[in-house]
């Protein structure tokens, strides 16, 4: 947009960069993806003094322009490409006053790209407590920049920052370190060959793997300027040393720390939180709290949403002339939207906790505690939160994997989380267990039924861990992954940040996955309420002709059963019968399984409909009806022990949730992974159930 200033926010992680961004943009933020990759692209607009509009891009946190991850790559790709539409007019490097030395490394690199750069020193409110004092004019002159001393926590200094941004033209573009001092010989040759390019820029091109879309890269490759990886690293090391020499020199005068004043909260907290025993105990407690919140605290709002959806459905049915559209709206669209909205409480609670953990700095300690356990499975220490949350619901859990920086670890986490026993499986488990497991107590205390349930939970975890282990072996790791995790200072989470984060995640789910879920719900509605030929549409007459006279309720149930049987879904269920017979299932179970793709808990309701008791809600009635169902071919009970176990295992391992597939698609930016989940998990479930039934029958 002509007339607006393009600003890039850059900085180390944990410098409060997000808070600064939030201060500048408020609710005017947009989150998307960089094309083709799964890195979040955060932009926003803000009003600057003098009726100037600012477009701010919040670049992923990075420690240096030498990228070691996809996130960091994004930064360097943008800053080296003047033709990119996001290329900034001015850069604001956000630093933490307590970590100035290291933060300035990135600053000096950006200065060397000759982009007008402002140094924002954040967390100024902590200077007193830590005994830090700064000579701003000295720093400004040595670093060739203008400094804004801000506190995103208190909200001070933001106005000054905006002033500096608006006056960006007066910023010097002198570099801090002259790149040629890294290796004078080499760089002189470079300068002669490419006299019109920034030396430092050329250097970055040579030493990075990134794809810049600039022609020079191909010219440089295969010339005498390319070096081996090892040589490059040595030069990069030299560059780092030279930069730190410069920084130390500047800070020796520009920064004074009175250590007698400094109070070290971090050390004291770390002693407890990373303790051999207490560390884990506390972590376990926090995990249980998170689980508790997504499981039970969400119940009330979820119940309200369910009622609201049902009410809305009935309202539509009551106020519209009966017909296809009213049916679609009530049972397809509203049910579909309800199916999306109902996830909001769980997502909100989960991200509330995750935000608090990340903002406070505790999450890094989680990584420290869990890394050794998670690494053999290709998972990150941070994978624990999604895995545990998956026991409530996989959808928010998969979204939670977003804070895992390493893409491979994140992918594996996303793919295996659905194995954990989610709450939608519980209605299926409970009714099947009550049918096939006797009510006896082991040793007079342990209920056999309860133990079976626990065993199923355990199976879920084992399934997740095992598949992670397998994926770890087969997914190729492009480069050896090094582990360097910063342990930031502990901070009181800023509620504004937490709130904005929760809002953003919720919006992302509702608009992203929500659209897909809604579309799929409409399709499923169609398949369930239409059938080929006349059978479906003439259901009522056919049923009346077939049976003895029924009262209105019985007639409704019978019609519903007949229609389901002859709908497309019913036909699908019957078609797969030969395939599922070896697992011990008949076509009626087949229909219920197919319907479960909308949502697992639909299994029970679908069976009820097929058994002509669709209008009842009574669990006991449904159970008794299932218990009395006899298979015409074998003459035995349909829900016998072998079939029951086989079904339990099938539901434990099969991928049967369109919402999960939708969110996996969104988080991995591709259909490849959800499809792999669908076919892989279902194939595995099939085999396991098959073996179980054949062994037990």
């Amino acid at each position: 947009m002509a007339g607006s200033l393009k600003i890039a926010l850059i900085g180390n992680p944990n410098t409060g960069k997000t808070s600064v961004f939030n201060h500048l943009t408020g609710l005017n933020q947009q989150v998307g993806n960089y094309p083709g990759i799964t890195v979040e692209r955060k932009t926003g607009s803000c009003k600057l003094p003098g009726i100037v509009k600012g477009n701010i891009i919040d670049l992923p946190g990075t420690y240096s322009l030498n990228a070691s991850s996809m996130d960091e790559n994004v930064v360097i790709e943008l800053l080296l490409n003047k033709t990119d539409k996001d290329y900034p007019d001015v850069a604001v490097v956000v630093t933490d006053v307590e970590n100035l030395k290291r933060n300035l490394l990135l600053f000096t690199q950006i200065k060397d790209l000759e982009i007008p750069t402002i140094l924002a020193i954040n967390m100024a409110d902590r200077m007193d407590k830590k005994g830090i004092s700064l000579d701003i004019p000295y720093l400004e002159s040595r670093l060739n920049t203008k400094i804004a001393l801000i506190s995103s926590r208190k909200g001070t200094g933001i106005a000054d920052l905006k002033e500096l941004i608006v006056n960006y033209k007066s910023l010097s573009t002198e570099p801090c370190l002259h790149a040629s001092s890294i290796d004078p010989d080499y760089f002189n040759k470079l300068r002669k060959a490419f006299p019109n390019e920034l030396l430092y820029k050329l250097w970055l091109l040579i030493s990075q793997d990134a794809n810049f879309g600039l022609s020079h890269k191909t010219e440089l490759m295969g010339t005498s300027f390319t070096k081996t990886r090892a040589d490059l690293k040595r030069l990069q090391q030299k560059e780092t040393i030279k930069r730190y020499q410069f920084i130390n020199d500047v800070l020796k005068v520009g920064q004074v720390i009175d250590t007698s004043k400094a109070k070290d909260l971090r050390a004291r907290l770390d002693r407890v939180l990373t303790h051999k025993i207490f560390g884990y105990v506390i972590f376990l407690g926090i995990l249980m709290l998170i689980f508790q919140s997504i499981f039970s605290w969400s119940e009330l709002p979820m119940g309200l949403i369910e009622e609201g959806t049902a009410w809305l459905s009935n309202f539509v049915l009551g106020n519209m002339a009966p017909g296809k559209l009213s049916d679609l709206l009530a049972n397809g669209v509203i049910a579909g939207i309800g199916g999306v909205v109902i996830f909001i409480p769980q997502i909100a609670f989960l991200f509330l906790f995750i935000s608090l953990l990340e903002e406070s700095g505790y999450m890094s300690r989680v990584v420290f505690l869990m890394d050794r356990l998670m690494k053999p499975f290709g998972l990150s220490g941070k994978s624990v939160v999604p895995l545990i949350s998956g026991t409530a619901c996989a959808i928010p859990a998969i979204m939670a994997a977003r804070n895992i920086e390493n893409w491979r670890e994140r992918l594996i986490t996303i793919l295996v989380t659905p194995f954990t026993t989610c709450s939608a499986r519980l209605p299926v488990y409970i009714i099947l267990i009550s049918l096939i497991i006797p009510e006896t107590k082991l040793a007079g205390i342990f209920s056999l039924q309860g133990l079976t349930l626990m065993a199923l939970y355990l199976l879920g975890f084992l399934g997740a861990i095992l598949s992670a282990w397998i994926l770890n072996k087969i997914l190729d790791a492009k480069h050896k992954s090094f582990f360097v995790a910063e342990m930031p200072n502990y901070k009181l989470p800023l509620l504004k940040n937490v709130g904005l984060n929760v809002l953003e995640k919720t919006k992302a789910f509702v608009y992203g996955a929500g659209k897909i879920i809604l579309a799929l719900s409409i399709i499923i509605w169609f398949l369930g309420s239409h059938g080929p030929g006349d059978n479906f549409s003439n259901a009522e007459e056919i049923v009346k002709g077939q049976q003895r006279p029924l009262n209105p309720e019985e007639l409704d149930d019978a019609v519903a059963a007949y229609q389901l049987e002859h709908s497309y879904i019913g036909i699908m269920g019957k078609t797969i019968e030969p395939v599922i017979r070896p697992l011990g299932y008949d076509w009626k179970i087949g229909v219920a399984i197919v319907s479960s793709f909308a949502a697992r808990e639909v299994f029970v309701g679908t069976l009820a409909t097929i058994y002509n008791i669709g209008s009842t809600d009574n669990e006991v009635t449904i159970r008794e009806r299932m218990d009395s169902e006899i298979d015409p071919i074998t003459g035995k009970k349909v829900f016998n022990f072998a079939t029951g176990i086989s079904l339990l295992l099938f539901y434990a391992f099969a991928m049967q949730c369109i919402s999960t597939l939708a969110i996996t698609k969104k988080e991995t930016n591709s259909w490849k992974w959800p499809l792999i989940q669908l076919f892989g998990m279902s194939a595995f479930a099939y085999v396991v159930s098959l073996i179980a039934y054949q062994l037990l029958k």
Partner: protein, 39 residues
């Protein structure tokens, strides 16, 4: 077919088209950025 059914079927077709578009449109946008030299 009455008007209700017509509208209903249009919506269903729309949902199907949306999903098909989502599956195939994505492939065009995706650069081969899986090998960005990361991790």
């Amino acid at each position: 077919m009455d008007i209700q059914s017509i509208i209903a079927y249009i919506l269903v077709a729309g949902a199907a088209a949306f999903l098909v578009k989502k599956i195939f449109f994505k492939k065009k946008k995706k650069k081969d950025c899986g090998d960005c030299g990361c991790n």
